[in-house]
């Protein structure tokens, strides 16, 4: 009898590091191409349209970036917690709380000038998300409550809270009852580049990525995050305050997810409404993993992920139903993740002795 066994790769080899991703990407396109072909669609044309939809014009590229900005920010947010092996899957809820807090500022102090209002909204967004990260962080740090569950549950509360506001107290009287808040005043609009919808959020994401890089790589606090993430026992032995660091990391992770929410309402929707995020907080988890938690990789992976989503969505007008689009995106993702797994582990066949 032959059994397959997975073992962790002991040594990193360049061949594996380069070969596996190339292979998995090729395989992704071959398999999804075959899939399209047998579903009666022209794979070449489909991929070409995807490419055009994502990169085909300056407008397409700008829209890809618009889609990528929240993925970048939320990806950075969760990556920080992941580095400490804190499974923050609550970025979605933290994003909503950030959007809520920033909207409160924008709606309450709309008369202020942009120079004052935007930083205030930024701060509020951070605080909104930070509170939502602090709660599970403190529960985990001081009472060992599993943060995966608490962050997940807090998502629902945050999303329902925003729904309540837009259906109830914050509803725009002029919206004839539709669940929207009034539009922000112009000073609450995040400036964008030229005529495009690409807004300053891009800059924010890049700055945060650079900060992350410096902090994680060279700072004392980054060192503590590294050590705690690798081994809590070693951290205790080094005299680090593990619980306090956990709280702090969750707080900042949540805060950056909150900034993501602020950026979406201030840069895109210009008001608070339901569905400000179609699951950015969850997609961010995949982005962070594919980028191996490296801040600069997150920026690039988020951009390509945005391209996959934007390009994929657009091929519907080629007559491909949305469900097939989802399967296509899913299979590409599947091969990428499987490839990533194979890069870390190898599968060996073991002969089991006969009875």
């Amino acid at each position: 009898m032959i059994k397959a066994k997975m073992i962790k790769r002991q040594h990193e080899s360049l061949l594996v590091d380069i070969g596996v991703p190339i292979f998995s990407i090729l395989l992704a396109f071959i398999v999804s191409g075959l899939f399209l072909y047998f579903s009666g669609y022209d794979p070449g044309e489909t991929f070409s349209r995807m490419l055009k939809g994502a990169f085909g014009s300056s407008y397409a590229v700008s829209e890809t970036i618009v889609k990528a900005i929240p993925l970048m920010l939320a990806g950075l947010a969760v990556s920080l917690a992941f580095r400490m092996k804190l499974w923050n899957i609550g970025a979605e809820g933290q994003l909503y709380m950030g959007a809520f807090a920033a909207s409160w500022v924008a709606l309450s102090f709309g008369d202020l000038s942009s120079w004052v209002l935007l930083p205030l909204m930024f701060l509020a967004g951070f605080i909104g998300g930070a509170v939502w990260g602090f709660i599970p962080g403190a529960l985990r740090g001081y009472w060992q409550v599993n943060e995966t569950i608490t962050t997940l549950m807090l998502n629902y509360i945050a999303i329902s809270w925003v729904s309540y506001l837009v259906f109830g107290p914050w509803k725009d009287p002029a919206s004839k009852g539709f669940p929207l808040t009034p539009r922000f005043t112009l000073s609450g609009y995040l400036p964008s580049f030229g005529d495009s919808r690409v807004h300053m959020g891009l800059l924010v994401a890049v700055v945060i990525a650079v900060l992350f890089y410096l902090v994680l790589r060279y700072s004392r606090w980054g060192y503590e995050i590294k050590v705690i993430g690798e081994s809590q026992n070693a951290a205790r032995y080094a005299g680090m305050n593990v619980a306090r660091n956990m709280v702090l990391v969750m707080l900042i992770s949540g805060g950056i997810a909150g900034i993501t929410g602020m950026i979406e309402v201030s840069g895109i929707t210009h008001r608070l409404q339901q569905d400000i995020s179609p699951g950015y907080g969850f997609t961010a988890v995949i982005v962070a993993w594919l980028a191996r938690l490296h801040p600069f990789s997150i920026i690039v992976v988020a951009f390509l992920f945005g391209a996959l989503l934007v390009g994929g969505f657009g091929i519907q007008t080629f007559g491909i139903p949305y469900s097939i689009v989802l399967m296509l995106e899913g299979s590409i993702l599947f091969f990428l993740l499987a490839g990533e797994f194979l890069r870390r582990y190898k599968i060996i066949l073991v002969r089991k002795e006969e009875q």
Binding site: K226, R236, E353
Partner: protein, 507 residues
């Protein structure tokens, strides 16, 4: 009366990479017998029993159960042959009742409701004189009661050979008594019990027959009536006489570190160390000898500052330091090389630079408050690698690619770079080959000669005699006795380690 053995293991050999755990072992167990399997940690007891329980396969040799030659490829097969193993960590479902744990999975459960299961359990347990509430949930039970449930569960599954791995370590003395009574009842009903242990007095108290393993080989197998504790102790640890090779300390100064009446809680909430007294003088090596699990880990953590003393005091140079944390103690000169090299002492996935500053990264030397000055860290690392002859391919590679000996040297070098007054090192030679172990000990000897007080936690008696100036024998959370290394012998220490009072005129 001529009886047939229920178990015959013949010519069993099993090796793991680098170690032969069992060498050509012959082992027989008869029905109605309580058979003790005695040996030091690492003597091969657990391996042998794991083979019997179907967890490992032997490299050679065969097993006969009730005269029939069988090959176990899984614990399930062993179970169906009537062999049940009870581990130190029980395999019970905490939220289920006693009855559910006993009956579910035994193959007859489908037809029974809860009431019937409880009735059946009660009936079955009373056959063996167990007194247990079948509707209690496992988490409500004490460890001793949980162990009973494990035994009932195995018996219910039709086991007539029960292997128990160190069953008394988790029990109170009263519970130990209970367990022994249970075992006797079971034996009287024809069941065979194999007791894995390293506690001599238990063997004498309950076993009918004893087999002693040392370094993976059987060194004796005899009815209990024909031996006494001293003989067994000798069989377990006997080695050629070793002379204390270490040069005597140049200077042996004042006490640096002192522990007075120290009691320390373990993780399970019991007192792992009780009323311990110990002092370490400048320029000497004190070795703590003892079987692992007698409070050594808790003692080290308490000295390091990771664990609070429950009672008693710890003082450095006469000043009580009970309330100081690990960083403050390091600053005052207490360096610690923990037992768990890769789990605590070093961070395997980080590179050598990051590992070198694990305990000092926050000091001004290496950091301006926000950023770490990796330039000076690199300089330090290069010096250390050179001074201590640490072999590695790249300072930026994760340290888990380094060999055990180099890792241990790195760890010790890092701790010594703080110029400690006292160095505590737990099992510094564990897992190292002879040459590597020697170079580690040489570093320690040099350090001692500079006047540092060194506390070693060791298992290997050979090393103790070779390097220690004084030997403190630890047993059941206390120091049995502190002996000068050149005024004792291996038999005495071996006996003390196992909790036996050693009678000798000269001691």
């Amino acid at each position: 009366m001529k009886r047939l053995p229920v178990i015959e293991m013949d010519g069993i050999t099993k090796s793991f990479p680098g170690v032969v755990a069992n060498k050509n072992i012959h082992f027989r167990v008869y029905p109605g017998e309580i058979h003790a399997l005695l040996g030091e940690n690492g003597a091969g007891k657990s391996t042998l029993m794991s083979i019997l329980a179907g967890l490992y396969r032997p490299d050679s040799g065969f097993i006969k159960v009730k005269g029939e030659k069988l090959e176990f490829s899984s614990p399930r097969k062993a179970l169906s042959a009537g062999i049940g193993m009870i581990y130190q960590h029980f395999r019970l479902v905490n939220n289920f009742t006693v009855a559910e744990n006993v009956i579910l999975g035994a193959g007859k459960s489908l037809k029974m409701n809860k009431k019937q299961m409880e009735k059946e359990t009660l009936k079955f347990a009373s056959q063996f004189g167990f007194d247990i509430n079948p509707s209690a949930r496992i988490y409500q039970l004490s460890l001793g009661e949980q162990q009973k449930v494990e035994i009932i569960k195995m018996l219910y599954r039709g086991c007539d050979i029960l292997i128990m791995d160190e069953p008394t370590t988790v029990l109170t003395p009263h519970e130990v008594n209970d367990l022994f009574n249970t075992l006797r009842v079971m034996a009287s009903q024809g069941k065979a019990v194999v007791l894995i242990t390293h506690k001599l007095h238990e063997v004498m108290e309950v076993a009918d027959y004893v087999t002693v393993l040392r370094h993976g080989e059987v060194v004796g197998s005899t009815p209990i009536a024909e031996v006494d504790e001293t003989m067994l102790a000798k069989m377990m640890v006997a080695k050629e006489v070793i002379f204390n090779e270490a040069s005597h300390p140049l200077l042996k100064g004042d006490s640096i570190l002192e522990l007075c009446n120290a009691s320390i809680f373990g993780d399970q909430g019991h007192l792992a160390v009780q009323d311990l007294n110990l002092d370490i003088k400048s320029g000497e090596i004190v070795a703590i000898a003892g079987v692992a699990g007698n409070g050594q880990r808790e003692l080290i953590e308490a000295i390091a500052g990771l664990r609070k003393l429950h009672t008693g005091t710890i003082s450095l140079d006469g000043k009580v330091i009970n309330d100081l944390n690990i960083r403050q103690r390091l600053n005052l000169g207490i360096s610690v090389v923990p037992e768990d090299r890769m789990g605590m002492g070093l961070v395997p996935n980080l590179d050598l630079l990051d590992n070198i500053i694990l305990r000092t990264y926050y000091l001004e030397k290496y950091s301006d408050g926000i950023f770490i000055d990796y330039k000076s860290v690199r300089k330090l690392a290069e010096e250390m690698v050179e001074d201590y002859n640490i072999y590695l391919s790249d300072l930026n590679h994760p340290v888990n690619y380094m060999s055990g000996g180099n890792l241990q040297k790195l760890l010790i070098a890092r701790e010594l770079s703080q110029k400690p007054r006292v160095l505590v090192a737990a099992y510094p030679s564990r897992g190292l080959d002879i040459a590597a172990a020697e170079s580690v000990y040489n570093i320690l000897l040099q350090e001692r000669d500079k006047g540092t007080g060194i506390l070693l936690i060791l298992e290997d008696l050979e090393d103790i005699f070779r390097y220690a100036d004084r030997v403190a024998v630890m047993y059941a959370g206390g120091i049995q006795k502190i002996l000068d290394a050149d005024k004792t012998n291996i038999d005495e220490i071996g006996a003390l380690m196992l909790g036996v009072e050693y009678v000798r005129k000269t001691s």
